[in-house]
């Protein structure tokens, strides 16, 4: 009876969130199996087999796993879940989408977004936008868990796991994925970036994000945003950092024209170093910033980019 981790991947490449989830699994127990559901599993499985702490990789291949629906993924996980004590996936939109289905079909609770493992039955998770941390114990036979990736280091290399095929479960035929409109960017992915430059309503419009992008390119950083900037259409939805967006914890987070509402702080306050640039000296973001600059961003940001190039 081991621990099952569901791999997240995109375009044939393993997502880093899977590696953080493997580390969380290793804190619970030693025998970690990773399930890969994809149209073509070989490359992802080869990567996973070398990850430290992984003892087995299961490969389920079917054309409809190319863009799996929650219905199909949940059915596949359910076909083997009873052989495990814990089922884990990253608490990304990927994991959040199908894991509660798995839990309901097993008639167990789900533990969402855990940030620490206390023991095999007991976990810590943030509630109320991270204003409180709850230590929660599950009485269920199988624990279905989503993992906050920023709270666990990525598992490294050094494994030599066996790869085994797993029979797919027939397509439910209910839901079809008919389109995808992904944000293409040469910059690092928000949740895996070492440095993030984020813009808020203070940016004024989408055009103005160019000055942030120039700064990001100088730093090799990802670009993020507040909800207000996304709602206003300055940037796409997948830029949103916060309680109901992405949770990030880079080495350096630069908040530009962001006031610092609790819902935004919930997604970035575990960053190592926080810089805030805001023209309002009273903005709440300064209460969490290691370095605060009270200035007009339209002067400060180009100046910062220039100074870094000097």
């Amino acid at each position: 009876m081991g621990i099952l981790v569901i791999a997240e991947h995109e375009d044939g490449v393993l997502k880093p969130s899977t590696l953080n989830t493997v580390t969380a699994a290793g804190r619970i127990g030693a025998d970690v199996t990773v399930l890969v559901a994809a149209a073509e599993t070989a490359a992802i499985c080869t990567t996973l087999a070398r990850v430290a702490g992984v003892s087995r990789v299961l490969a389920a291949e079917a054309p409809y796993y190319a863009r799996p629906t929650a219905e199909n993924l949940a059915a596949l996980v359910l076909s083997i879940a009873r052989d495990y004590t814990h089922v884990l996936a990253p608490a990304t939109n990927f994991g959040k989408n199908f894991m509660p289905r798995v839990a309901a079909l097993l008639d167990v609770a789900q533990l969402s977004d855990i940030s620490a493992v206390v023991d095999a039955d007991t976990f810590v998770r943030p509630i109320y936008a991270g204003n409180a941390l709850a230590t929660v114990r599950s009485a269920d036979a199988i624990k279905v868990i989503t993992v906050r990736a920023t709270a666990f280091d990525a598992a490294g290399e050094g494994g030599a796991a066996a790869i085994e095929p797993l029979a797919p479960v027939a397509d439910s035929g209910q839901t079809a994925v008919t389109g995808r409109n992904l944000t293409r960017s040469e910059r690092p992915e928000l949740t895996a970036a070492r440095i993030i430059v984020s813009g808020g309503r203070g940016m004024g419009n989408g055009e103005n994000f160019r000055i942030l992008e120039a700064l990001a390119d100088r730093l090799g950083a990802a670009v993020g945003a507040s909800r207000a900037a996304v709602d206003a259409g300055f940037v796409p939805n997948d830029y949103q950092v916060g309680q109901t967006g992405k949770v990030v914890a880079p080495d350096l987070y630069i908040a530009v024209g962001i006031s610092g509402a609790i819902q935004h702080l919930a997604g970035m306050k575990d960053s190592k170093v926080i810089v805030a640039i805001n023209k309002d000296a009273e903005a709440p973001i300064f209460q969490v910033a290691d370095y605060g600059l009270v200035a007009d961003l339209f002067q400060a940001v180009p100046e910062l980019t220039g100074e870094l190039s000097a």
Partner: protein, 249 residues
């Protein structure tokens, strides 16, 4: 088509909750309570479906204590046609909510159940997906656009890398994301009208569902506080300190 909308009573999003000193939970006595913001978006979407001639009736459902009636009255004032309170004083966790909602769905037979993607108190993001699984219905989570034609729906949903479009048969469960719509404000005349709309109360124990909590909270703590740092005078100082003190660039 009948549309069912779940509305949860939660601590208002503007309130910064405090952890009780004995570590037993958060202090929500005398704190402002409101409808979960994602559920306001759900009610709004249902009303737009009715205005577009797609929905014939909107039923708002809340589960919990008698005070949830206030939340239901807000939904009625926004424009829901009638309301159901599933009353219990037992602490409800998402699996229990999903099971109770399944019982309500079986009675009401809606063509679409709309839930919020996440309640801003427990931050669970589970109930809609669980309800869909228990009913054997398809699901569309984190919706930012809904189009219904006949017995099918097309939903644009927010995913980690951008947007995804789903085509699914009804009945189905949809959960709302922030960009689906902007909820309307309730007006005084509509608050008055809402007082006369039907609100039925069902006892949770009459629905024959096991709602005992599966998770027990051992303790609730405040997270480590971040200390406010220093204000820097200008960009030169900022860059110097990031280089030599913080060593992050």
């Amino acid at each position: 088509m009948k549309v069912l909308v779940a509305v949860k009573r939660v601590v208002d999003y503007n309130v910064k909750v405090r952890v009780k000193s004995d570590g037993s939970g958060v202090d929500i006595a005398n704190v402002k309570m409101s409808m979960n913001p994602f559920d306001e978006i759900g009610v709004e979407e249902a009303i737009r479906l009715r205005e577009a001639g797609v929905a014939s009736e909107i039923v708002a459902v809340s589960l919990g204590s008698a005070q949830c009636q206030e939340t239901l009255r807000t939904a009625l004032a926004m424009g829901a046609d009638r309301a159901i309170l599933v009353e219990t004083d037992v602490e409800l966790q998402p699996l229990a909510v999903a099971k109770l909602l399944r019982a309500v769905v079986e009675r009401e037979q809606p063509g679409l159940a709309i839930l919020g993607k996440q309640a801003i108190d427990d931050d669970a993001n589970q109930t809609g997906q669980m309800l869909a699984a228990l009913l054997g219905w398809p699901q569309a989570t984190f919706a930012s656009k809904l189009t219904v034609s006949g017995d099918r729906a097309e939903v644009v949903r927010e995913v980690d890398g951008g947007l995804e479009t789903l085509a699914l048969p009804l009945p189905a469960v949809m959960t709302t994301d922030l960009r689906l719509n902007e909820p309307r404000y309730v007006t005084l005349p509509n608050i008055m009208k809402a007082k006369k709309k039907p609100l039925d109360v069902l006892r949770a124990d009459a629905l024959g569902v096991d709602i005992a909590p599966r998770l027990s909270t051992l303790r609730v703590e405040e997270p480590a506080k971040r200390q406010a740092g220093a204000k820097v005078a200008d960009i030169k100082e900022l860059v110097a300190r990031l280089r030599t003190e913080a060593k992050v660039i």
